[in-house]
């Protein structure tokens, strides 16, 4: 628990870090909700009702969590190995890292979801909350995986932005037919359905659960690899 708190504090110790983690997704949802439907139409997609605002909340949480994941992975390199060698063990260090990342991703997702609730009248709020969280967790993993292979902070941030923008332009709602490589496709399907006032079928939930599980397993594996001894 102490390690998890320390890893969480590590990302929040800079001035305004927590405020930005909350304010940025909330502001994005409030400002962009009105224009996303027009944007989707221009790209040949379609987002009726509150689906555009819902998708905006998912994207905001996704980008925040992706950057967060990248910087968590970047800061875990070297330091976690020393921590593991000092007696904490790679498994426990990796578990603490992933728990700290999850806690921060939950904060970003909650900020996006609360802004969405204030902005739109969502019929299935729990579905929307789960889908926004799924966006955050999938992108947390994207950021962590990028952080494990890219060294520089600038290159890593650009790589996260690259994956994010690729996903935005090719995902459900924005493209006429979503691309198979859209990593947040299932989260977007559930989120759009909740914005339209529809419940998602069980198959969509299963696929979303599988996507989130794979994403978290990948992030955990990266943290465990970072913490393991090379001796």
């Amino acid at each position: 628990m102490t390690r998890t708190l320390a890893f969480t504090r590590e990302q929040l110790r800079a001035p305004f870090a927590l405020a930005l983690l909350i304010a940025v997704p909330a502001l994005f949802v409030a400002a962009a909700a009105g224009v996303l439907a027009d944007f989707a139409r221009a790209l040949g997609g379609g987002l009726a009702g509150d689906a555009a605002a819902s998708l905006g909340a998912g994207w905001a949480a996704a980008f925040i969590a992706g950057s967060l994941g990248f910087f968590q992975a970047a800061s875990s390199r070297g330091a976690d190995r020393r921590l593991a060698l000092a007696g904490a063990g790679p498994g426990r260090v990796a578990a603490s890292r992933i728990l700290a990342s999850l806690a921060l991703a939950v904060v970003a997702a909650a900020a996006g979801f609360i802004a969405l609730q204030l902005r739109a009248d969502i019929v299935h709020p729990w579905h929307a909350a789960a889908a926004v969280l799924a966006f955050a967790l999938i992108y947390l993993s994207v950021g962590v995986v990028i952080g494990s292979v890219v060294d520089g902070a600038l290159e890593g941030s650009l790589a996260v932005a690259f994956v994010f923008l690729l996903d935005v332009f090719s995902g459900p709602g924005m493209a006429e037919s979503p691309a198979p490589y859209s990593v947040s496709r299932k989260a977007a399907d559930v989120l759009i359905a909740s914005g339209l006032g529809e419940a998602s079928p069980g198959a969509d939930w299963l696929k979303l659960g599988a996507a989130v599980t794979i994403a978290l397993a990948a992030a955990l594996a990266v943290f465990a690899y970072s913490a393991r001894s090379r001796l």
Partner: protein
């Protein structure tokens, strides 16, 4: 060789050791501008020009006109963030070693300008493949202003908050300013009454005017953009000078 030249050479050598950065600075604009324009439908859209005129265009052309500016703002802003972060760490040592604060920060600003120029050149070249503005010279000037303004905003964000917070500020700030508020694809086709309060207003209006009008009207907006760029440049020099100078005390 002067100290500034030595530090600049070392700074550029540091960037040259990061081939992925160059790939991303060239590849990202190419990929996103071509993709964004190609994927946009030709839905009719009325655009309000500076000076009060209106022109009937379409969503694809408007996206073509503004996508370069959005991309340049993102990339120049992020480069600004990390150039400043790097300066905070390394340039303090240069000042301790005898460099003046100005000698230490001038190379950083050169690197920021060089990266912005690369992004600007690639973005405009890629835009030219799919969209031709009516007036190239002010279109280039507007996009250059966007790069300078956001590059320096990134540098200030990098000085004020940590990497993570600065990344959030720049990406969402650029998206909201140039991607939403100044973007004629949305709303009435004209920026809202409060849009001039944002840094991208002047440059954004110069871009819109030069993209769709055969006669340039946005002199006032061009002046606004230049004032933003100069004010931010002064702020960056002062803030960065203090950051590296304080360490030497």
């Amino acid at each position: 060789m002067s100290r500034v030249a030595v530090a600049a050479r070392l700074g550029f050598r540091e960037q040259a050791r990061r081939p992925l950065l160059l790939v991303l600075l060239v590849g990202l604009p190419f990929f996103f501008i071509t993709r964004a324009i190609a994927n946009t439908e030709r839905l009719p859209r009325l655009v309000e020009l500076p000076g009060g005129g209106e022109v009937l265009s379409n969503m694809r052309d408007i996206h073509g006109a503004d996508m370069a500016a959005i991309t340049i703002a993102f990339l120049a802003g992020l480069v600004g963030v990390f150039v400043m972060q790097s300066a905070r760490e390394a340039d303090r040592r240069l000042v301790v070693a005898g460099f003046s604060a100005r000698q230490a920060i001038a190379p950083r600003l050169l690197i920021l300008a060089a990266a912005t120029s690369i992004v600007l050149a690639v973005s405009l070249a890629v835009t030219a493949l799919s969209f031709t503005p009516r007036l190239w010279a002010p279109f280039i000037a507007g996009n250059l202003l966007v790069g300078l303004i956001y590059g320096m905003l990134g540098a200030l964000a990098g000085a004020a908050v940590d990497k993570l917070g600065a990344t959030y500020l720049i990406l969402f700030g650029a998206m909201l300013d140039l991607g939403v508020v100044q973007n004629p694809m949305f709303g009435s086709g004209a920026p809202p009454a409060w849009a001039p309060a944002l840094p991208g207003y002047g440059a954004g209006r110069v871009i819109v005017d030069s993209a769709f009008s055969s006669e340039f009207h946005a002199w006032g907006e061009l002046a606004v953009g230049c004032v933003w760029a100069v004010a931010l440049a002064v702020a960056v020099v002062v803030v960065l000078g203090r950051l590296v100078g304080v360490a030497a005390d």
